[in-house]
């Protein structure tokens, strides 16, 4: 399969899910599928071709039934999905008809940032980067996954981000197509792995935790506070460079086109029997036994997902992007 499959000339621009290897993109995609199914709204994620559809089904099954994370794959960019919105049923009111929104779909690509990767068979640095910039140039919505856990150990988010954005800007702005020297994308900055103790406790320390509806549900960080948590997590990065991430984003994207989200693909642990969140027992990951004797966290045991997957803020950034891009397209259509 090639990335061109399923895309026809004249297709609307796509959404790119972009982040460092291991930042959780594949899981995010599968969680997105789960979240949309659970929501039972007009939005769906579908494969653009049979291979991509199978891959999505397989990933979703892994997460829900096998309770495992997807393997590190090198072929993500070969797949292509579509975020689709069914036409809303026409609602008849007293005053007559209200027009429902029309059917709409947009391509979704998953892009690894260049750099260290899990799969040995992964293609080399240069090709990855070129392909990535191509894909980003074709998209108008980006879900940028920022992995605070990786940032704490590797601290390399900035170096990945800056180079790519600079090249992308060089490519796209050279044509002076957009007038204002800013990239045309909508950008959803997603702090991932909110379910990890370190992330949760950082949010807790900042007083950013909110419990929607009632305390039985998992905590969340409001979108308005997400940027503050993002900034704090960047400040904790050992490299010190993470502090440059936010200014870099602001340099390249219109501030009103950037929105922050605090997300978790798997969500916090919820005891299936009690059916409610317990702040004393939040981790939804558990290491598996290994034969190597006593070891501690971080010693590389295989990880399983402990309880049911309950995605937090996975659907929201996609729908935000979808709505913005749909609106823009409709505006264009109406105007032209």
């Amino acid at each position: 399969m090639s990335s061109d499959q399923g895309r026809r000339p004249g297709d609307p621009h796509s959404i790119a899910i972009w982040g460092a290897p291991g930042s959780g993109k594949t899981t995010f995609l599968a969680a997105l599928n789960i979240a949309l199914i659970l929501k039972n709204g007009p939005w769906r994620i579908i494969g653009a071709d049979p291979g991509s559809l199978d891959f999505l089904k397989e990933m979703t099954d892994k997460l829900t039934h096998q309770r495992r994370f997807p393997e590190a794959t090198s072929t993500l960019s070969d797949y292509r999905w579509l975020l689709s919105r069914r036409p809303e049923e026409q609602v008849k009111g007293l005053l007559g008809r209200r027009k429902g929104s029309p059917a709409w779909r947009i391509g979704v690509n998953v892009l690894d940032a260049p750099g260290r990767s899990f799969g040995a068979e992964r293609t080399g640095h240069g090709t990855d980067r070129e392909a990535l910039i191509d894909e980003l140039a074709l998209s108008r919505g980006i879900v940028y996954l920022f992995d605070p856990i990786r940032e704490l150990t590797d601290g390399d988010a900035f170096s990945h981000l800056h180079g790519v954005l600079a090249d992308l800007a060089g490519r796209m702005l050279a044509k002076d197509e957009f007038g204002d020297d800013m990239l045309p994308h909508y950008l959803a900055v997603c702090v991932t792995k909110f379910d990890e103790i370190k992330v949760l406790e950082t949010a807790e320390k900042l007083g950013l935790l909110g419990y929607p509806e009632d305390v039985q549900e998992s905590p969340r960080v409001d979108d308005e506070d997400a940027e503050e948590l993002f900034r704090e997590l960047c400040a904790a990065s050992p490299s010190g460079n993470a502090r440059l991430v936010l200014p870099t984003l602001n340099q390249f994207f219109h501030p009103e086109r950037i929105k922050f989200f605090v997300t978790s693909s798997i969500g916090f642990y919820v005891d299936p029997e009690k059916g409610r969140f317990d702040p004393d027992d939040v981790q939804n990951l558990t290491p598996e036994a290994s034969a190597d004797g006593p070891q501690g966290p971080g010693s590389g045991n295989r990880i399983r997902i402990r309880g049911p997957v309950g995605p937090i803020n996975v659907m929201e950034p996609m729908i935000w992007l979808g709505q913005r891009m749909a609106g823009e397209q409709q505006g264009k259509e109406a105007g032209g």
């Binding site: 103790i197 027992d281 939040v282 004797g293 006593p294 501690g296 402990r306």
Partner: protein
């Protein structure tokens, strides 16, 4: 004007002596027919009045041999520990004219309180000396002596004084389980006790060195013990009912023991010769062995063998008095497909032989389970149910109170699960059991000691292991069973010499 009457003199001197405190001094000057004698008195650290009789200054023309008081012994030299012997001696006394003698006698610290006693008819050198002394110290109290010489009177007054500080006997107390020895005090006489009072103590004397068991009496000065007397006697080991008699302040006599001799080893020397612990008296003991069943098969086999060694060692030392319990614990399961295996109480309070049998069965069944060199125990890999094991043991032991010596021997490697989410990222115990609370609860058992055999070197082991090995700890590969049991305080490390009597157990 002088006052008169022996009772009056006695009362005045008693009062003056009672007022002695701190660095205050009292000087009593006796002006007699033969010459002048001065007595210096002060109170020592232990609250005992101490004194010194200065050589008599004779009137001109008289000689030492002519003195009528030559036969009167000094009240402060005879049997009076800590008293400075009189400077010079009676034999060195020289004769001087009365006035000069008086002046020499008034050579006194200015801050000393002075009492002048005239014990001979006024006139001649006596009168002149009295006058000169009163002129020199107008603040001095002047009294007339009676028939009793001042030296005798002072001795009687000092001996009849009540105790200014409580007196205790220095003893050793032994921890019922660890055998650890601690210096302690057994009250003998309360404050205000007067001579003749009796006090009884029962002590246990252990084998001592050739100089004997030391009976030391201390007085308490603001929370600080001050030695009153130290005596020693060589005794056969055993229980002794000792009666202490307050002979006078500063002197306690013991009966019920062969006669004691004064001890001249220094206090520091005595104290440093006390062994850290003393082998246990015979009595029942309970060894609880908690074995972690996770990890590779070889390791588990090694743990079980170590436990077996210790059971053998203790059973040999405590013949017939040892009961053994055997508890195994593994990993919690956070995977619904892997059933949770709770803590297993294999044996509770069984004979060492039965426990050995269970250990053998455990080892065999485990070996059967093993499929290779490193069969992994299913379940959570980074911790074990230490906290549940502690809770199970605490529950079975019941509320603290029993005197029975109990050893909790934990053998394993992994940390406990925290009671709630923790920065270590170790998942919390499903029952939210708090290992620290459990350890604290167990520590309340007076007879309980903790021993641990950990597969991990101490610097890598979780802090819980330091608590579990509070009294004795060893690495799995380098355990010395004898030393380990001695550290636990349940077996004796050879013959020991104990310098002080032990408080006898009721």
């Amino acid at each position: 004007m002088t006052e008169s009457g022996e009772d009056l003199l006695r009362r005045a001197l008693t009062e003056a002596i009672a007022e002695l405190a701190g660095s205050r001094r009292l000087v009593v000057v006796e002006v007699a027919a033969e010459g002048v004698t001065a007595f210096d008195l002060h109170r020592d650290e232990a609250g005992t009045s101490r004194g010194r009789e200065r050589p008599m200054t004779r009137w001109a023309g008289q000689t030492a041999e002519g003195g009528g008081d030559g036969a009167t012994p000094s009240p402060f030299e005879e049997g009076s520990e800590g008293a400075t012997p009189a400077e010079g001696g009676r034999d060195g006394a020289t004769a001087f004219p009365a006035e000069e003698a008086a002046v020499r006698a008034t050579w006194l610290p200015v801050d000393a309180r002075v009492v002048l006693v005239r014990s001979a008819p006024d006139g001649g050198p006596v009168g002149r000396a009295m006058e000169a002394l009163r002129a020199a110290r107008p603040d001095a109290l002047a009294l007339n002596g009676g028939g009793v010489p001042v030296a005798v009177l002072l001795r009687e007054i000092v001996a009849a004084e009540p105790l200014r500080r409580p007196y205790d006997l220095v003893v050793l107390r032994r921890h019922p389980v660890t055998g650890r020895l601690r210096l302690a005090c057994q009250p003998l006489f309360a404050m205000e006790t007067r001579r003749g009072a009796l006090s009884e103590v029962t002590v246990q004397c252990e084998p001592s060195d050739e100089r004997g068991t030391v009976f030391a009496v201390v007085a308490w000065q603001d929370r600080r013990p001050v030695l009153v007397s130290v005596h020693a006697v060589k005794l056969p080991p055993g229980r002794y009912e000792v009666t202490a008699m307050l002979e006078r302040p500063g002197r306690v006599r013991f009966s019920g023991l062969p006669s004691l001799t004064r001890e001249d080893r220094s206090w520091t020397e005595l104290v440093s010769s006390v062994p850290a612990r003393l082998g246990p008296p015979s009595g029942p003991a309970h060894l609880i062995c908690a074995v972690e069943t996770t990890g590779p098969e070889v390791q588990l086999g090694e743990r079980l063998r170590r436990v077996s060694q210790l059971v053998t060692e203790l059973a040999g030392e405590l013949s017939g008095l040892l009961q053994v319990s055997l508890v195994t614990y593994g990993a919690h399961s956070y995977d619904p497909r892997i059933p949770e295996r709770p803590v297993d109480v294999v044996d509770w309070e069984v004979s060492p032989d039965d426990a050995q049998e269970s250990l053998k069965i455990l080892e065999e069944s485990r070996a059967g389970r093993a499929t290779g060199h490193g069969a992994a125990e299913p379940g959570y890999p980074y911790a074990a149910q230490v906290e549940d094991m502690l809770a199970e043991v605490a529950g079975r032991l019941g509320p603290p109170g029993g005197r029975r010596r109990t050893v909790l021997l934990t053998v394993g490697a992994r940390p406990p699960h925290p009671p709630r989410r923790h920065a270590s990222e170790i998942l919390p115990c499903p029952r939210r059991v708090d290992w620290e609370r459990q350890v604290r609860d167990l520590q309340r058992h007076p007879g309980l000691v903790f021993g641990a055999i950990c597969d991990q070197p101490p610097e890598r082991a979780h802090p819980a292991w330091a608590r579990l090995g509070e009294n004795a700890s060893a690495h799995l590969d380098t355990l010395d069973p004898q030393g380990f049991c001695a550290d636990l305080g349940v077996t004796a490390p050879g013959v020991q010499r104990v310098p002080f009597p032990l408080m006898a157990m009721p």
